[in-house]
């Protein structure tokens, strides 16, 4: 098998294991770590996590697919996740989603041909007071307008 954690990830994994009374409880943190290391959770990544923790890949897959943040398919370098819940919708999220989709030439759920952007719509990000909100990888961009999102896309392009 070709996939393996870097030394740093391996160290983080060992530290994580020590915080729990059993290996099962380390499944979520290890999947997070694997997604960071490998970009997304390919079949090989699932197999790797399964071997590390001593479960079958089918079991790990069953857990992973329950949670929306684990990507079983590759995502773009920048994962644009725009909140579509009520507070954001009241502040113009629908227009923002249409605008970004048009600008990038993709529909929500799709990745640009150059692999740079994936556009997703997501549920409430817990930041409704600064709606509309978009998460890009680990960061939140808040109180967005068409202009500010244009500026952001220009910087990321």
């Amino acid at each position: 098998m070709s996939l393996a954690f870097s030394e740093e990830a391996r160290a983080r994994f060992e530290k994580t294991l020590a915080r729990y009374p059993n290996r099962e409880a380390a499944i979520l943190p290890t999947l997070h770590l694997a997604q960071r290391e490998f970009g997304y959770l390919s079949d090989e990544a699932i197999q790797y996590v399964a071997d590390l923790l001593g479960f079958t890949p089918a079991y790990i897959e069953g857990v992973a697919t329950f949670y929306t943040m684990y990507n079983r398919k590759p995502v773009g370098k920048y994962h644009l996740q725009i909140c579509r819940n009520l507070s954001c919708s009241l502040m113009g999220a629908e227009h923002l989603i249409e605008h970004v989709a048009k600008r990038l030439g993709v529909k929500p759920g799709e990745t640009t041909a150059d692999g740079r952007f994936t556009l997703s719509t997501v549920e409430c990000l817990g930041s409704c007071g600064t709606a509309p909100v978009m998460q890009v990888n680990d960061d939140y961009y808040e109180s967005l307008s068409e202009e500010s999102i244009e500026g952001l896309l220009d910087r990321l392009l």
Partner: protein, 422 residues
């Protein structure tokens, strides 16, 4: 006005232990470890501190459900999943005052003789989790966590566990499964977490804000905290105001502050000359109010009396000109997406509600659709493992009861009178 939590939230260094201690932090912990444990629990009972996660269960009473004997180690879990649409206060505590939560954790664990605590933070809050981890590391370094805390002989370990994008994991038994590495399926109760929780151990689950209130209660006494609020519902609350108001945000206000003044004084009223149409007072799962129903004190009992709930304090302001069918459709898509699928009435019901609303909004509603929605709601209420099904029914029923004419108009005119947009 007396503030319990947010006094120093404007100070960027408050998230660090040195500043926190300089401004009086961890003094409550020093006091707590010199008190008999039962006395701490007694103060929290006297405080009338009701859970800030949504259900409003009195914290001190919940703690009392732990089995009396200490033979099985107990676990404290902090619910930082913050997924209820309209709610964004725990994020503020974690990013501006993480040591308030940590000090609350240490005091609570000391009082309940618990040596393990997990903080379950929603997976999207990567930055907040980093801030909390830094604060935890500082607390270990300064002897507020770890072995023999402040020389008391008391040991405590705190670990952050990140969620991975599932609203249902905010429900406490789902959260427990998720913490154990499983799918976040809610568990059938009983047994309740206080007897069989994480890893089979007696477990208390409390919201971030609930626990962050504990240091103040220890410092000032339960009675003082109770006196800030109303009868049987003490203290202040972090009220989140979203929607097109002039000053959206989190406001720390005494329990019992009127909803009208929350919207018009604190949040500055509606912006751009808009007028108020409706308010969802306690997060998306609480029944909607008409504009003329907001002269009500924001506390659990007062809101319950008028048929809604204080929930997690997420006030969503809906202006005139907003389509209520479209708004409800957005919410039902959310519940349909988040139902874990274990119970047929919830899995099928949420899906049905989302689909029927979509077709009404798209001008394809049938004459019987409104009654159909109410019928689906009846079949969901109280028939499921966890309250998510009820959480979907509350907005669905109330939107129809209070704005029925809009639903009928969509169906009669076979189109959305608002042009199918927000």
């Amino acid at each position: 006005m007396e503030l319990v939590l947010t006094t120093h939230f404007g100070n960027d260094r408050y998230r660090h232990v040195d500043t926190y201690v300089r401004l009086g932090g961890y003094a409550a912990l020093r006091k707590a470890i010199s008190m008999p444990k039962e006395e701490i629990v007694e103060e929290v009972k006297k405080a009338n501190l009701r859970g800030r996660g949504g259900a409003g269960f009195p914290a001190g009473v919940k703690w009392g459900f732990l089995p009396k004997d200490l033979s099985r180690p107990r676990i404290l879990v902090i619910n930082a999943d913050e997924g209820e649409p309209g709610t964004f206060k725990d994020r503020l505590i974690m990013s501006r005052g993480p040591h308030l939560m940590i000090e609350g954790i240490v005091i609570t664990c000391y009082a309940l003789t618990t040596h393990t605590c997990y903080i379950y933070i929603r997976g999207e809050f990567v930055r907040e989790a980093d801030i909390v981890q830094e604060a935890i590391d500082e607390a270990y370094a300064e002897g507020y966590l770890g072995r023999n805390i402040l020389g008391s002989g008391f040991d405590l370990d705190v670990t952050i566990h990140l969620g991975a994008g599932a609203y249902i994991c905010g429900e406490e038994t789902s959260l427990i499964n998720s913490l154990e590495g499983k799918r976040g399926w809610p568990r059938v109760k009983p047994p309740f977490p206080a007897s069989v929780g994480v890893f089979g151990q007696p477990t208390i689950v409390n919201n971030v804000e609930t626990i962050a209130d504990i240091p103040w209660i220890v410092t000032h006494g339960g009675e003082k905290f109770a006196s800030l609020g109303v009868e049987k519902d003490g203290g202040t609350r972090l009220i989140c105001v979203s929607g097109p108001v002039k000053k959206p945000g989190v406001y720390e206000l005494p329990v019992g502050t009127s909803l009208h003044s929350i919207i018009y004084e604190h949040a500055g009223g509606l912006r751009d000359g808009k007028t108020l149409k409706a308010v969802i007072p306690g997060g998306s799962s609480t029944p909607v109010l008409r504009a003329n129903e907001i002269d009500v004190p924001f506390d659990f009992e007062s809101l319950q009396k008028i048929g809604t709930m204080a929930g997690s304090g997420g006030v969503i302001v809906i202006p005139e000109g907003t389509c209520m069918v479209r708004s409800l459709s957005v919410l039902m898509n959310f519940y349909a997406h988040e139902s874990c699928g274990q119970c047929t009435p919830c899995r099928e019901g949420c899906g049905w509600l989302a689909r029927i609303l979509r077709r009404i909004e798209d001008g394809e509603g049938r004459e019987e659709d409104v009654e159909l929605i109410l019928g689906v709601c009846d079949n969901m209420l109280g028939r499921t493992i966890c309250p998510l099904a009820d959480a979907a029914v509350m907005p669905a029923q109330s939107f129809i009861w209070k704005f029925r004419e809009e639903f009928d108009q969509h169906i009669q005119e076979a189109k959305c009178p608002y042009g199918n947009r927000f």
